[in-house]
Amino acid sequence: MCLAIPGQILSIEGDDPLTRTGKVSFGGIVKEVNLAYVPEAKVGDYVIVHVGFAISVVDEQEAQQVFEYLRQMDELGELQEQPA
C-alpha cells in the first residue's frame, strides 16, 4: 500500500505549484505524476512516486550510501579477522 517507486522526470508542465505535473519514466513506462510536493524537482531528476504523487527527489549521493557502508564494513571486517 505504501509502495512507492523511483522514476525519472522526462518533462514538466504547468506553472501552478499545486497542479504542476511531469512525465515520469519507470524503466520505460511513462506516467503522468503530480509534482506539487517536490517543488525543487527538475527534468532528469529521479523522484519516488506513490499513488500518482512524487513524494521525494532521490538524493543521488545518498543513494550510494548503502554500498559505501558495505565497503567500510568490509574494511573493518578484514581488520577483525586478522590474527591477533
Binding site: M1, C2, L3, A4, I5, P6, Q8, L18, T19, F26, G27, N34, A36, Y37, V38, P39, Y46, I48, H50, V51, G52, F53, I55, S56, V58, D59, E60, E62, A63, Q65, V66, F67, Y69, L70, M73, D74, G77, Q80
Partner: protein, 367 residues
C-alpha cells in the same frame, strides 16, 4: 531499473548477512513496521539469510489490514447506492466485512471502480456530474498527501459530487501501543521509509528515548532491509537506542514540508479504531471542519454501526507481533487468499498472505 536493481544484488546481500552474523552475540527481536517490507522479506527470503539469533516480527503497517470492519461495511453500503460510483485502490476490494466485500457489492450491481490515484476519482466526479463519486481514502502518512490534495482540489474547484470515506492511520501511535502492551516482544524497529519520506523522523526520537528502543528508518529493497537490520542489531549490541536513517536517498529528517502542510490543511489528528487491535488514541486522521462537506460519512445516511470481529482470526495478534501466521489454526486451511477470513490474508502486504505465498511449504524455524 535504476535505484531498484542495484539494491537487489545477491552478493552484497550475503555480505550484509555475514556482517550481522559477526556482530550478533545474543537473541534480538526486531519488528519491521511496514507491510511492504514484510512482503519483500518473504519474497527475497531475507529472514532466511539472517542468523538464528535475529527474529523479525511483522508489524501493523498494512493499511488494508487495519481498516476496521465497520468501515468496510460502510464502503459496501455506499457502493450499493445507485447514485454512487465507489472508487478504491485495488487491494481493498476483497477485504471481508460482515456482509461481504466490495467485489461482491460490484457483482450485486454496485458501480465499484479501481483507481490508481485519488486524483483519478476526482476526475471521474468532474466527468460524471450527475453521479456521486466516493473515494475510499485509506492509508498511512505516505498516502495522506495524495488524499489531502484530492479533497483540497475538490474544494478549490467547487466540485460538489465528490466525497471521501476516510480511514487514515498514523504509525507512531501504533508503535507506542505495541511498546506499551504487556505482551510486547519488540526490542527494535525498522521504521517505514515512505511514511518517513513524508513525515520525517523527529516524531520517533522521543519514542526511541522513552522506551529505549533503536528505530532505524529503512527502505524496501533487500539491501535496504539488511542494512536496516544490521544498524538495528548494532545499536542493540552496543546498548544504544537512537533513531538512524538507512533510507537517506529518500528520507530527510524534517520530511516533506509541502506535503505536511497540505495534510495539516485538510486533516486533523483523531482517535482511530484499528482492525484486530482496537481503538488507539490520536492514531488517525479525519477531515477538518472546513472540509466536512467532502466527508462521505456525513453526506450519506449510513446504517452501519460498530460490529464484532470474527473470533477465529488472530490477525490482531499477528499485527502486533505477538504471533506468527502459521500459529493461526485457520492458516492455509480454512483461511487462504481465495477465501480470506481476515484482512492480513487479503492484502499482498498482509503477513498471512506473504507467508501463504512464499512460506507455505517451509516449516517454522526453531527458536
Amino acid at each position: 531499473m535504476r535505484f531498484i536493481e542495484e539494491y537487489r544484488d545477491a552478493e552484497a546481500a550475503q555480505r550484509f548477512a555475514e556482517a550481522i552474523r559477526k556482530i550478533v552475540t545474543r537473541e534480538w527481536t526486531i519488528m519491521e513496521v511496514c507491510g511492504g517490507q514484510t512482503h519483500a522479506i518473504m519474497k527475497f527470503g531475507i529472514d532466511e539469510l539472517l542468523p538464528p539469533q535475529v527474529t523479525l516480527l511483522h508489524g501493523p503497517g498494512c493499511p488494508v489490514c487495519v481498516t476496521p470492519v465497520e468501515l468496510i461495511d460502510k464502503a459496501v453500503e455506499l457502493a450499493l447506492r445507485p447514485e454512487v460510483i465507489f472508487c478504491s485502490f485495488g487491494d481493498m476490494l476483497r477485504v471481508p466485512g460482515t456482509r461481504g466485500d466490495l467485489l461482491s457489492a460490484k457483482a450485486a450491481g454496485g458501480d465499484v471502480r479501481i483507481v490508481y490515484s485519488p486524483m483519478d476519482a476526482l476526475q471521474l466526479a468532474i466527468k460524471n456530474p450527475d453521479r456521486q463519486v466516493v473515494f475510499f481514502a485509506v492509508g498511512f502518512e505516505t498516502t495522506a498527501p495524495a488524499n489531502a490534495m484530492a479533497v483540497y482540489q475538490a474544494k478549490r474547484q467547487g466540485i460538489t459530487n465528490f466525497s471521501v470515506l476516510v480511514s487514515h492511520v498514523l504509525v507512531p501511535p501504533a508503535l507506542e501501543a505495541i511498546l506499551n502492551s504487556p505482551r510486547n516482544r519488540v526490542q527494535g524497529f525498522l521504521a517505514a521509509g515512505h511514511v518517513c519520506t513524508v513525515m520525517g523522523y523527529t516524531e520517533y526520537e522521543p519514542i526511541a528515548q522513552k522506551y529505549r528502543v533503536p528505530i532505524v528508518v529503512t527502505g524496501f529493497e533487500p539491501l535496504d532491509i539488511l542494512q536496516g537490520v544490521y544498524m538495528c542489531v548494532k545499536q542493540l549490541e552496543e546498548g544504544r537506542a537512537e533513531v538512524e536513517n538507512q533510507y537517506a536517498r529518500s528520507v530527510r529528517r524534517e520530511g516533506n514540508r509541502p506535503a505536511q502542510e497540505l495534510i495539516r490543511e485538510v486533516f486533523e489528528v483523531v482517535p482511530r479504531k484499528w482492525r484486530g487491535i482496537g481503538e488507539i488514541p490520536q492514531s488517525g486522521l479525519g477531515l477538518r471542519e472546513p472540509y466536512w462537506q467532502f466527508d462521505a460519512e456525513r453526506r450519506f445516511p449510513l446504517r452501519t454501526g460498530s460490529v464484532e470481529e470474527a473470533s477465529e482470526c488472530i490477525s490482531g495478534l499477528i499485527l502486533q507481533g505477538v504471533k506468527k501466521p502459521y500459529e493461526c489454526p485457520a492458516f492455509g486451511t480454512r483461511c487462504t487468499p481465495e477465501h480470506p477470513l481476515g484482512a492480513t490474508m487479503v492484502s499482498s502486504e498482509g503477513a498471512c498472505a506473504a507467508y501463504f505465498k512464499y512460506r507455505r511449504e517451509a516449516t517454522p524455524r526453531a527458536g
